[in-house]
Symmetry: C2
């Protein structure tokens, strides 16, 4: 007997047939003797429609009202899921955020979970009842509905698993696990049987869209074993585990890419102590996060070139902020480019092996791919390149790091 939280995303509960398929999985777990809590998202498309209505009602709207509106999506799914489970002979009841309660702070629209009262759910586990819990929502100190921000249902599921001291948190989605890289681009991408929390955290924040970053961080800090698997196919997924549980450590575990950055180059910055740092003042004031930074000497000795990345969505604001201070900052010219991609290699094996960066630079150089910027952490190396090389670079690196699936082992 195990205690399991199962989370079904929007595409896994998109209509009644999908809800029935998800319920059938829950039923199997119950029949196997497990205690099961189900966390559901809104039916695919519902949240987008509700968000659009709020925006059309008023572009700047009260986040408390937004939360009341959008939380209705999950309210519909929990009720339908409970009805379907009951019709299959499984004892079940729905739980809304305020009923449990799932207490959060008061930051409406992006609330953080503070506590979950699981007493009643656990009492009903003992009676064989499945708890069907609305993801994405909680109740704030003002006694009003809060939401956790987009993708928050993953976080709800992991938080509930932590509170319930569950043996496992299964995240059902429309992919069947975590891959070495995007299989739509690299045909020989392999599904990972296991991945560590640290790797998953880097991969999630670097563009792998399988799990929401916050939910991985929470799983890591509470030691919740997470499994990512498909709600459509009956195949094993990927387990997100502690480093100790990984027997054979790879040098590199996965490759990710993200097109959500833009690059800015400031030419002719006076090369005096402090002036380069001053460049980032206006950006910090505008709350724009600067990521990769490269400073180089310009042909003229007393001038420097500074290249850095910002989120594409903030590019226009970044340019405006810098242009407004042009006189004071005394730079000569500004260039921006959003047609770039950030490629990252991630792997805990990097900690003990020094050759990862060398392989990356050599492989990209052999294909004539220019690196615009680099950033590293203990377990990842990211490079910024022209977006048109994305597929070429991903395939070459996938092979270079020995990640390609063995064709002999592939299913026929």
């Amino acid at each position: 007997m195990a205690r399991i939280v199962k989370k079904f995303g929007g595409t896994s509960v998109a209509d009644l047939d999908r809800i029935r398929a998800a319920a059938a999985r829950v039923k199997r777990a119950v029949e196997a003797g497990h205690e099961v809590a189900v966390v559901v998202s809104a039916m695919a498309g519902t949240t987008n429609r509700l968000v659009t209505w709020c925006q059309e009602a008023a572009p700047l709207h009260d986040a408390r009202e937004y939360d009341a509106v959008v939380a209705s999506g999950e309210q519909i799914t929990v009720g339908l899921m409970a009805i379907v489970l009951q019709s299959m002979g499984v004892s079940a009841r729905s739980w809304l955020g305020w009923q449990i309660p799932f207490r959060t702070n008061g930051i409406h629209g992006a609330a953080r979970i503070e506590s979950i009262d699981t007493q009643e759910i656990e009492r009903r586990f003992a009676e064989g009842q499945v708890a069907v819990v609305a993801g994405f929502q909680g109740i704030g100190p003002d006694n009003r509905i809060t939401t956790l921000g987009r993708g928050g249902s993953d976080t709800s599921a992991v938080a509930l698993a932590a509170a319930l001291k569950a043996d496992r948190c299964d995240i059902y989605t429309d992919v069947d696990g975590v891959y070495t890289t995007d299989p739509r681009i690299v045909a020989r991408a392999r599904k990972l049987e296991r991945v560590t929390f640290e790797e998953m955290l880097e991969m999630a924040s670097l563009g792998a869209k399988v799990l929401q970053t916050r939910s991985v961080a929470m799983a890591m800090s509470h030691g919740v074993r997470v499994q990512v698997l498909s709600s459509f196919d009956d195949v094993p997924g990927t387990m997100v585990v502690n480093e100790e549980d990984i027997v054979e450590k790879q040098l590199v575990t996965g490759l990710t890419y993200s097109r959500s950055d833009a690059v800015l180059t400031v030419f002719g910055v006076p090369d005096r102590p402090g002036t380069v740092a001053e460049l980032f003042g206006p950006l910090a004031d505008a709350e724009i996060v600067v990521d990769m930074i490269v400073q180089s000497q310009a042909p003229s000795r007393d001038r420097a070139e500074v290249t850095f990345t910002v989120p594409s969505a903030d590019l226009d604001r970044a340019v405006a902020a810098l242009e407004a201070q042009r006189e004071r900052l005394a730079y000569q010219r500004l260039e921006s480019n959003s047609n770039v991609v950030k490629l990252s290699v991630v792997g805990i094996g990097m900690r003990s092996h020094a050759g990862v960066a060398k392989i990356m630079f050599r492989t990209l150089a052999e294909r004539g791919i220019n690196i615009l910027a680099i950033s590293t952490s203990e377990i990842k190396i990211s490079v910024l390149i022209d977006a048109e090389y994305t597929e070429l670079a991903l395939r070459a690196l996938h092979t270079a790091y020995g990640l390609d699936a063995d064709p002999a082992k592939e299913p026929a």
Copy 2:
């Protein structure tokens, strides 16, 4: 300064433009210095879609889960209405049933309101804030969402008006008031400036679909002044008032019709004491409500004919219940007909005038319309006739009772 509850039905909040139009009415009342609570239904079509999903999930479903699902409709509207009001510069916040709380009994799907805590809403009235309240929903003793049954938002509005001791409850709908009869059938139907609670109650239960019967009964018992008016046109509506407030009493106030009854005739019932009454036993056991009853002597002296009406929806069950007991009840033959209509004349003036029935019988007889059954109360007379005569009978009676609009007074 007055305290006013304004209720907007589904067609009045069907999309954001309609919500804006409703909000503009609220804003005008606020600017006139009134304290305003707004009660809203789900956007037109929403509740039907949610109900269908529940039925498709499982024909026999847990009413508690049904309530969680369908109550989400009003949750969406209150949030959007509050956002729109705020964008117009009107201070407003949404209130869900469980937040107020709007306490009900535990009959999920058809709950009755037990108490409404208005303290916080009244405190915010003093600060100029509009309360936007979700109609149709409450919270039961089990701490779960309850709904009041279809059309329950009218009841929510009247109950809130009673709890707030409001000066008036405005019910905005897609018609601009209560008419002497259905204007789609009788072109010369007149809008009533005033109607008494008793008349409105009879008219609502006899087929006039303007107000839900339960809400009228509640308004009557709590003395809530109700106004029915259009959310689309800026014209005065109909006030539902106490009898004392009606200056010039009409003999007849309105004519209604209902096609929701079916008639059953049982031939050859043994004419002995008790046998006729026995006929209704199986129907009562099946919880079928019998309305109009006529008993007549059959040509053979020791046999009687019994004619009565049941709701059309229950006709098949009624026939089955009687046929199952045919041997014991010893009747000869059963005939049923659902192609009938119940016409009713309603008016408090009937109490003091005896001629109402006479006018009815004479008018119908002159047109060769046969009366199948009759039932009366202090302020109404209902007759059952063949459905094909509905329009003819309504127009003739409307003229006979002097209800026709004066063409000279009509708008051009």
